[in-house]
């Protein structure tokens, strides 16, 4: 391994990338080990915290007395803390890890400046911890997706800027002549998020805009966190792992480039569809609806591309844990995106807005698509970091089936319940009392809690497998099937 370059060298525009040599994959993986493990362990811990808060909030929906005396866990706080811990704790940590692991691999260069990533990781996790503590304490800002109090958020921004700077340096010293489509997505996501986050913080928290502009900025931000941060990172992972696991190049590289650029052009406009029927100029709403439908282009392009890559290789789903999760995520991406476009139709929105249908849709996006892709990526990455095999195939299967069946039940129950709820809310003749509608939804909420318990079982299986893998000693001379070689031969002297 080349001697570590100083940060000043990497930032100096005169420094020549030619001095960097093209590295072996195993060497690159070894160089990412320490920061990647840090982010990965943080993400798994946040997943467990977020799952616990999710169950508490879910139980409260059909059983309001549950923990009703505990001020810190009233519904408004527990639900908000759930959202923030799964988004900024679990999803963001996992996304960072996958993003820089992929970035190093695709740039074909060993990880430079791990210290930058460690500082970023520490700042991020301290920021999220302080933020969630603040929410539970009652300091929530009450602005959706930006609930963390103002004393926590600057830390997140610093962390973010460091990861972004790191990615640009890695990209600059990359040794691959070609920019793979995943790199486009990762670089774009790392550029977009600080922009979204800083503008939203400025215009909503530090120097709030007046009136309905607040609502516009809020949904511009909240929707773009999904579309311009989690979606590109999820797609980056799919575009790498799907062909890599199959050992087969992506069906049409042309389509993947088209998909990236159309996402970049259209997604940013779509957030307004959250305000259909609200006190926002109608032309703005119409523009949002049009953009939501333009999103059909990148979504269908990506779906066709992934499907045609899979054709003829569906048998591999049986033998590869990563592929199972990734394919489940890719299919969910198509469904959730098309569903999202349909939900922006005014007449359909009239029925589904303010109902559990929207909650089902949100979980289909963040769980069935994004989280499943991250699980798949972790099942691929961790053996290559530790040079060990996953200790239990049964726990992996348990994780997959509980998560997959759990989220499908969750989505089904809330979608049907949400439509029934929306129809009842629009029907004043038969449902004059709001409480009767609440009673109506109770059975669906109960099913949601059961689905939640099932998913929790999966998360615990996952956490056990990760912990077991971290702690188990490596057997000398053992070969790991996912690695093809003897792990000791792959170890890189550092």
């Amino acid at each position: 391994m080349a001697s570590a370059p100083s940060l000043a060298d990497s930032l100096n525009p005169a420094a020549s990338p030619d001095t960097v040599s093209r590295a072996e994959l195993s060497e690159i993986d070894a160089s990412t080990k320490a920061p990647a493990l840090f982010f990965l362990i943080s993400s798994v811990l946040w997943l467990l915290v977020g799952t616990g808060l999710a169950l508490i909030s879910s139980f409260k929906m059909h059983n309001p007395e549950f923990l009703g005396n505990c001020e810190w866990l009233t519904f408004g706080r527990a639900r908000t803390a759930h959202l923030n811990s799964v988004i900024f704790g679990w999803s963001a940590n996992a996304a960072f890890m996958v993003a820089f692991w992929l970035m190093a691999r695709l740039s074909r260069s060993v990880l430079r400046h791990p210290a930058l990533l460690f500082i970023a990781g520490a700042a991020w996790n301290v920021g999220v911890t302080v933020g969630i503590f603040g929410i539970l304490r009652g300091d929530s800002t009450s602005i959706e997706w930006l609930e963390m109090p103002a004393y926590a958020t600057p830390l997140l921004f610093v962390a973010y800027a460091l990861v972004g700077a790191w990615a640009v340096i890695t990209f600059r010293f990359g040794k691959s002549q070609h920019i793979y489509v995943s790199q486009w997505y990762i670089l774009a996501a790392l550029f977009w998020f600080p922009w979204l986050y800083s503008i939203a913080q400025m215009m909503l928290i530090f120097e709030p805009a007046r009136g309905t502009v607040q609502a516009l900025v809020n949904w511009w931000f909240a929707h773009n966190v999904l579309g311009l941060w989690f979606t590109p990172l999820g797609l980056a992972a799919i575009y790498y792992f799907l062909p890599k696991v199959l050992g087969k190049p992506i069906h049409s590289y042309y389509l993947s480039v088209l998909g990236f650029w159309s996402l970049a052009i259209f997604y940013n406009w779509a957030g307004v569809h959250h305000l259909i029927g609200g006190p926002v100029p109608v032309w703005v709403q119409s523009a949002g609806i049009a953009a939501s439908f333009m999103m059909v282009i990148p979504v269908v392009v990506v779906a066709i591309n992934h499907h045609l890559t899979m054709v003829g290789s569906f048998g591999v789903l049986k033998s590869s844990p990563t592929l199972r999760f990734i394919v489940f995520g890719a299919v969910s991406y198509t469904i959730t995106s098309l569903q999202g476009s349909s939900m922006s139709i005014r007449s359909w929105n009239e029925l589904t807005h303010f109902t559990h249908y929207t909650v089902g849709h949100a979980h289909l996006g963040m769980y069935a698509f994004f989280s499943m892709v991250m699980f798949g990526a972790i099942y691929y990455i961790l053996p290559r970091l530790l040079l060990k095999e996953w200790p239990s195939a049964r726990l992996i299967s348990t994780h997959f089936w509980t998560a997959a069946i759990g989220i499908l039940i969750y989505f089904g129950a809330l979608s049907i319940g949400g439509i029934e709820q929306g129809a009842a809310m629009n029907d004043v003749e038969n449902y004059p009392a709001f409480l009767s509608i609440v009673e109506l939804t109770k059975k669906y909420l109960l099913v949601r809690s059961y689905a939640g318990i099932l998913m929790t079982v999966g998360h615990i299986a996952f956490a056990i497998n990760v912990t077991w893998m971290l702690l188990q000693p490596r057997v000398a001379g053992a070969t790991a099937p996912t690695l093809f070689r003897n792990p000791t031969a792959m170890e890189v002297a550092r």
Binding site: E24, L25, S26, L106, S176, Q177, H178, I179, Y180, V181, F191, W195, I199, M202, M203, E207, P208, A209, R210, V213, Y240, P243, K244, V245, L246, G247, K248, P249, I250, S252, Y253, Y254, S256, V257, W261, A264, V316, S319, S320, P321, T322, L323, Y379, Y380, E389, W390, P391, S392, A393, I396, S397, A480, P481, T482, F484
Partner: protein, 70 residues
């Protein structure tokens, strides 16, 4: 609030738009939008060639590597 929009948000969004346009221009000039087959194969190399699946459940026997099959 207006000052923030005109002094920071608007110039920055224009800068962002310009950087996106530049990225597309650069990609096209750099040849990133040509030779798509080569691009899609860039994630494979001699170590992990095309035709070799790279992920299995623990304990499952992997099929013989593609090199030996030839």
């Amino acid at each position: 609030m207006d000052w923030f929009f005109y002094a920071i948000a608007l110039p920055f969004s224009l800068l962002f738009l310009a950087s996106a346009v530049y990225a597309l221009y650069w990609a096209s000039r750099n040849g990133q939008l040509k030779e798509f087959e080569k691009g899609s194969a860039s994630i494979f190399d001699d170590e992990e060639p095309v035709g070799q699946p790279t992920d299995f459940f623990p304990g499952q026997q992997p099929p013989p590597p593609a090199v030996e099959r030839r």
